[in-house]
């Protein structure tokens, strides 16, 4: 068990030195999936397909024949289902990395705030309002 990081730090060095070093590979941060070796292996096909969306030609090919395009990249059933339902949390569960998933989301005209709202079960306006509130 790792001691919690103190959030309100005095501006003194010893406060930071009091922290202990945690295990970077733990998956214990709520609502957060570390994109580690396990995720990278699991998600390779999906992320490879998303990487291909750097090309406008490939984005058009996906839109024209989504099923065929996904087959070409040998997506797993879970990845195919997640893409089909446009469900970002499921894509992450299936090994997707958000920087690559953002390229897929872009095809549907969705930005990181749209997918933030989807993942947190809020409207985009609510999601934006939450961020604005954090700045006050």
């Amino acid at each position: 068990m790792r001691p919690p990081v103190r959030r309100k730090q005095p501006r003194r060095n010893d406060a930071i030195s009091a922290l202990t070093v945690g295990n970077a590979m733990n998956q214990d941060i709520p609502g957060t999936t570390m994109f580690d070796g396990d995720q990278a292996q699991k998600g390779l096909a999906l992320n490879r397909m998303c990487f291909s969306f750097n090309s406008a030609e490939n984005r058009a090919a996906f839109l024209k024949d989504e099923e065929g395009y996904c087959r070409k990249f040998a997506l797993t059933d879970a990845q195919r289902a997640a893409v089909s339902s446009r469900n970002v949390l499921q894509m992450i569960e299936a090994g997707g990395n958000v920087y690559y998933l953002a390229k897929l989301a872009g095809i549907f005209g969705l930005n990181v705030q749209d997918i933030g709202a989807q993942q947190t079960g809020t409207t985009v306006d609510e999601f934006k309002a939450k961020l604005a509130a954090a700045g006050r």
Partner: protein, 286 residues
């Protein structure tokens, strides 16, 4: 001899690229961020750097997850940007300085940093957006040496390792015989998280703590593990590693001469700092 004049660190959120293209400088949403660049422009005009060494992370333009270097140093005479699939405008190319790149590469490897060398290297928004923010709407007055740090696929290099990388680059720059005015740049951050049920997480207190410590005592920040940084700054807040490397490259007396911090830009706590390297700099009120 080359002189390290200072450093700039700034957020590189992709939507900034669109806002620049749409000239939204005075839009109420964007002004608190863009307004933070007036001092940066003044500082750059005064300091007149010849070269910028840019620490950044690639988001799947040049590197894919199949072959992903922890540290990669560009050694090209020109760096191109291409379609990143995120709908942001493609930037014009930026000139490189291969002679300086190879000097840094030779020095880093001699110093036991086993980096990847790239004679062809596409640069993504993490380079082009900070460059455009620093020099809007004109030809680039500097050449660049881009240095990519993996902040995407864990395991990531530690805070300590990135500070050391920066220090090693700083020593390389100090030993470069040509009379160049060199600046260093760190891009990305600060706190933000794009993925998962914690998407939208930002942490103003942690960001303040990091910026405060980075100026005068960056070593204390090396006590944070990557896990700690993810927890405190969000999954993509680990881009702070680029700031650590930038700070490490400033080998003299470092003074923060400018700081701008604003939440939110897109999903991100946006920050911009300017560090003067050497004696005689004045502290500017934040």
């Amino acid at each position: 001899m080359a002189k390290i004049i200072g450093g700039v660190a700034t957020t590189h959120v992709p939507s900034i690229g669109k806002a620049i293209a749409d000239k939204k400088y005075n839009d109420p949403y964007w002004q608190p961020f863009f307004g933070g660049f007036d001092y940066v422009h003044y500082w750059l005009a005064r300091e007149k750097p010849d070269v910028a060494v840019v620490f950044y992370n690639d988001h799947g333009l040049n590197f894919f997850l199949d072959k992903l270097p922890t540290f990669a140093v560009g050694a090209a005479s020109e760096y191109r940007n291409e379609d990143e699939g995120w709908g942001i405008p493609v930037s014009r190319s930026i000139a490189g300085d291969p002679a300086l790149s190879w000097h840094i590469i030779n020095s880093l490897v001699a110093d036991e940093f086993d980096i990847t060398m790239c004679q062809d290297m596409l640069i993504d928004h993490a380079v082009t957006i900070p460059m455009t923010l620093m020099w809007p709407g004109e030809k680039w007055p500097v050449k660049i040496v881009p240095i990519s740090i993996n902040t995407v696929q864990h395991p990531l290099p530690s805070m300590k390792r990135c500070l050391k990388l920066g220090r090693s680059v700083g020593r390389a720059l100090q030993s470069y015989p040509q009379d160049l005015r060199v600046m260093v740049v760190g891009t990305g951050g600060l706190s933000h998280q794009l993925d998962g049920k914690r998407a939208g997480f930002v942490n103003k207190e942690f960001d303040s703590l990091c910026m405060d410590a980075l100026v005068g005592d960056p070593d204390t920040l090396t006590l944070y593990s990557i896990h700690d940084v993810v927890e405190e700054a969000g999954a993509q807040g680990v881009e702070f590693l680029n700031w650590m490397a930038m700070r490490g490259a400033l080998t003299g007396t470092v003074t923060e001469v400018h700081r701008n911090y604003h939440i939110p830009i897109s999903n991100t706590a946006a920050a911009t700092v300017v560090y003067q390297n050497g004696e005689g700099a004045e502290r500017r009120a934040a």
